[in-house]
Symmetry: C2
Subunit: 217 residues, 2 copies
């Protein structure tokens, strides 16, 4: 898995390439030129060449990229060529939305359980996924060898619960709580701050006229 020399910005774009390559595979496309991919993805062909030439799998000029090869190489870089066990903390609407999203499993993210403090939810199953009490966190994490936790609880309790998760062995937190977590350096966090996303949309809306077609963000 060679990722030396691949910049942050490229890594950030890889999931989008992965999505388009997956769609091409579904359509039975075996090779695609940077030009055709550029038209689909609405980015420049030169950007695509710069990004994807890190991965090899491209033939002579005019021959195009090998779709399946690139798809697999990107999966390796993203770590989705292997399975990851995941739990969801919070079985409210957002937690249930994640549990119901079957695409995650296709990408190798296996949801092993959900956790909630609400006794009415504990004991239920959602799409076959059991909802446990928070007291069972340590046992399930260790038994199911869970690495990743999605945190969909209010921000007041997020830091405290995150610290417990880390103590029980979680290495990666997908944080939907509207706060920044301060955790040890060997724990990775990916934030999904919906309020901030909505504010960025509002910014674009208000400044649309001054943006003249091209998005600022």
């Amino acid at each position: 898995m060679e990722n030396k020399g691949i910049s942050k910005a490229v890594i950030k774009r890889l999931p989008r390439y992965y999505r388009y390559l997956g769609e091409l595979m579904n359509e039975g496309v075996e090779r695609i030129s940077s030009h055709d991919l550029s038209e689909r993805m609405h980015v420049t062909a030169s950007q695509i060449r710069q990004d994807l030439n890190h991965f090899g799998g491209f033939g002579q000029q005019g021959y195009g990229y090998n779709v399946a090869y690139l798809y697999e190489e990107i999966a390796k870089i993203l770590g989705i060529d292997q399975k990851h066990n995941i739990i969801i903390i919070g079985a409210g609407n957002l937690g249930q939305a994640i549990a119901n999203y079957t695409n995650f499993e296709k990408r190798g993210f296996i949801i092993k359980g959900m956790f909630d403090v609400n006794p009415r939810l504990v004991g239920m199953t959602i799409r076959g996924i059991p909802v446990y009490a928070l007291e069972e966190l340590e046992e399930i994490i260790r038994r199911e060898e869970v690495q990743i936790a999605a945190l969909t609880i209010p921000k007041m309790r997020a830091e405290e619960v995150a610290e417990k998760l880390v103590a029980y062995g979680i290495r990666a937190i997908w944080n939907f709580a509207h706060t920044d977590l301060h955790l040890p350096d060997d724990v990775v966090v990916e934030n999904v701050h919906l309020s901030e996303s909505l504010m960025r949309l509002s910014y674009k809306l208000v400044h649309m006229d001054s943006v003249s077609g091209e998005m600022l963000l």
Copy 2:
């Protein structure tokens, strides 16, 4: 509203500043130095000075930023000093999660309705917000002067519904569908692609050891 010369990168960080400034106000803090803000936000003081000096409202060296002033200035830039009417397309778990999130209203985003094709959901209310049939889309958008639509439906129907929304007067789409929308230049889109976010987390997890403490993304 002066935003000439403020870079994309700064704009992208503004919602996070806004959140921290809001927390400071709640704590009754009137002024804060770039040093203290830097410790809270885990970014460098020099980054903060570079970002916030666009907005004025800072006093002499050592005197610190006026929290309330900065908070208001950033709200103006983000367009959240005014109200925006919003609808949610899709009354499933994700749509309901958004509807239940009261913070959006505090920021001026007023949810005027939800829409779904499921007859079991139509006619319900969620936290007082009515669920309408998709057929009522045009009428509600026009009557309630809705500018923003959150799109929480499967990707197969996303483009088609987005085109309708635009035809009925929507100017901004908050897109949770796992696809890129291709819409006229005068419509703004903010994507929340959860699968891609989870893949970025997976990347960080798999490459954590080579990242030595500091996050790559």
